[in-house]
């Protein structure tokens, strides 16, 4: 029964989350179990990915209820790739949080909740049922609420209220959309929905439902007019939490958008126009936001928004090369964004501030660390041959083919702004002779940490930096993977057959 492997990434995270709950009082044991659990999850995800790569899409019907009636779990190449990336980021972040999160926070169940979050992410990527997707989204957001508030500082609570309100609103809009869709099609299975929605006569209603989905997922992904909660809340929790949020949470929204708009709502001209204009505006407005801020974490938060635009752009153009570009960007972005936020945590540990004005002289004092940190920064900008370059090339070429010069302008503008922002960050934080900072009493500076703790901060950053390098230099492999995913996504008949006729 090879198809059981589809459920393993979910079950592994669930198992370790529960085991961790049993070790509530022993933080030390929790640390080891969490890292071990994420190693197991990484192995299982690699196994799933290799199996899917060789065997093609696998599905499993839970409880043996036949496809449109029960809940189906589907692992196609897209889902398997994202599960693998979740495992990679989750592994890095669990090491980083073991090293950086305060003991008081770990005592209140930080690590079990982190595993519940990863469980929700894996579930959301693997499910083939739209209501089940809603349930996984709720698991993700309730875990993220706990992660963002744990510690209870003033700034955290203020950020949490904004994060909380907009995410619940997004879930309600998503639920409303599901209700309308169920009323229209009478089914919840995504493959079945693809057939039934295509047959509906009243296209106006279908378009409105599609827009409801777009708004619901758009809030979660941080698209143009809906992103204001993101920079208002992402900089409040500890860096380890920012890393998992910045790397993965907005990307679940992107995943859901790509899934819903390639399987269920296909080929509506009206939607294409909306998606493309939103993508262009996201690129421009996110870039402008990144320009004005001085806090490095806020700069990175705006860059998340800016770069979500690239992926939505690929979805809007809806050609094989464009979607492959979007997928490539998604793969690159998850790794790099996770790393950026961990890096900002490391910078904070070294200097005790996030403010660019006060930072400085990092290159002089820590040349080796700076050299490691330049890899994700330059990958983000997309200096060839690093990883950000290849997908942008595909997206610009495809925009040319679509004769859409506004979009090329937006892409180039966003790329240029990213370059400018990162160059400024490099000069301000690394090259500039920084002002003398007052030493904060009782602050655990990086130089005061034990060798073991230093390793726990640096190892995940180096690990993700190497993966970024691989994505850049091994671009041929990633491109082959992205093209295969794009072909699978564009041919939704294959997805339907895999689910309904196993």
């Amino acid at each position: 029964m090879i198809q059981h492997i589809v459920l393993y990434p979910i079950l592994v995270q669930l198992f370790f989350a529960i085991v961790l709950l049993f070790f509530w009082n022993s933080v030390k044991a929790q640390k080891s179990i969490s890292i071990f659990g994420n190693i197991v999850a990484l192995i299982v995800s690699v196994w799933l990915f290799i199996t899917i790569w060789q065997e093609g899409t696998l599905t499993i019907q839970t409880g043996n209820w036949e496809a449109p009636f029960g809940i189906t779990f589907v692992a196609d190449t897209f889902a398997a790739t994202l599960v693998l990336l979740t495992a990679i980021s989750g592994f890095a972040v669990s090491i980083f949080s073991v090293g950086t999160i305060l003991r008081a926070r770990l005592k209140f169940g930080f690590l079990p909740i982190l595993h519940f979050l990863l469980l929700g992410l894996n579930g959301a990527f693997l499910t083939g049922d739209i209501f089940n997707l809603y349930v996984w989204f709720e698991i993700i957001i309730i875990s993220s609420f706990v992660l963002i508030t744990i510690g209870g500082e003033k700034k955290q609570l203020e950020g949490a209220i904004k994060y909380f309100t907009l995410n619940i609103l997004a879930s309600m809009i998503f639920l409303t959309a599901i209700a309308v869709l169920y009323g229209l099609a009478g089914t919840l299975n995504m493959a079945d929905l693809a057939i039934k929605v295509a047959e509906i006569e009243n296209r106006g209603l279908v378009e409105i439902t599609a827009i409801l989905f777009f708004i619901g997922f758009g809030i979660k992904a941080g698209l143009f007019p809906l992103y204001f909660w993101l920079p208002a809340s992402y900089h409040t929790p500890p860096p380890a939490v920012m890393a998992i949020f910045g790397g993965l949470l907005t990307k679940v929204g992107v995943y859901a958008l790509i899934r819903v708009f390639t399987v269920i709502f296909v080929g509506e001209d009206f939607l294409e126009l909306i998606i493309l204009s939103v993508a262009g505006l996201t690129l421009v407005s996110g870039g402008i936001g990144a320009l004005v801020h001085n806090n490095i974490v806020k700069v990175f938060s705006y860059l998340i928004i800016c770069h979500i635009g690239y992926m939505i752009l690929g979805l809007g153009l809806y050609t094989e090369a464009a979607i492959a570009g979007a997928i490539f960007y998604l793969i690159h972005d998850i790794v790099v964004k996770t790393n950026l936020f961990m890096m900002s945590g490391l910078i904070y540990r070294i200097k005790g501030t996030f403010s660019m004005r006060d930072l400085g002289g990092l290159y002089n004092n820590n040349p080796l660390l700076s050299l490691i940190m330049i890899i994700p920064l330059m990958s983000l900008v997309g200096i060839p041959p690093l990883s950000g370059f290849w997908p942008k090339l595909a997206l610009i070429t495809e925009s040319f083919n679509a004769n859409n010069y506004w979009l090329i302008g937006a892409v180039l503008f966003a790329t240029f702004i990213t370059l400018f922002v990162i160059a400024r960050l490099w000069t301000e934080v690394f090259w500039k002779e920084g002002p003398k900072l007052k030493r904060i009493a009782n602050f655990r500076y990086f130089s005061l940490l034990s060798k073991h703790q230093k390793r726990q901060m640096i190892v995940p950053i180096v690990f993700l930096a190497f993966i970024s390098l691989y994505i850049g230099f091994g671009a041929e492999h990633i491109q082959r993977l992205s093209i295969r995913i794009a072909q699978e996504l564009l041919d939704n008949q294959a997805y339907i057959n895999a689910v309904l006729k196993p």
């Binding site: 209501f131 349930v135 709720e138 957001i141 309730i142 609420f145 508030t149 209870g152 500082e153 003033k154 700034k155 609570l157 203020e158 950020g159 949490a160 209220i161 909380f164 309100t165 619940i168 609103l169 309600m172 639920l175 409303t176 599901i178 209700a179 309308v180 169920y182 009323g183 009478g186 919840l188 208002a232 900089h235 409040t236 004005v292 801020h293 001085n294 806090n295 403010s355």
Partner: protein
């Protein structure tokens, strides 16, 4: 019945949105609860309301001849109610904590972190 439920759903959404646009934290939570209830009734309404029929299809039937009560919307509502219950209790604890720390109920005053710092 359908007409009545449609009006109630609309009212709940409208009232929920209105409450969410107020500045008070408590009203924000009430707004979220109202929208959640509105969504639940919407699922109930769109799952076709059938009175006095069992949710059973005869075993030998190939096509639907008689109307039958669809059990799926009720399962969906039940799940959605449980989830929103959990979220709402979290929300209420969160605003209580936030009020204790920030000492204000006004969302406009909760922006000590937002200025360009």
């Amino acid at each position: 019945m359908e007409f009545l439920l449609a009006v109630v759903t609309g009212l709940l959404y409208a009232a929920g949105l209105y409450m969410m646009l107020r500045r008070s934290l408590v009203k924000l939570i009430i707004g979220l609860i109202l929208i959640g209830n509105g969504a639940n009734i919407l699922i109930f309404l769109l799952g076709r309301i059938t009175k006095g029929l069992p949710p059973i299809i005869p075993e030998e039937s190939k096509v639907f001849i008689e109307a039958y009560a669809d059990p799926v919307p009720q399962a969906l509502i039940l799940t959605a109610i449980v989830i929103s219950f959990g979220l709402q209790s979290f929300a209420i604890v969160l605003i209580k904590r936030a009020f204790k720390v920030v000492r204000t109920d006004d969302l406009d005053q909760m922006n000590s972190i937002d200025p360009y710092s």
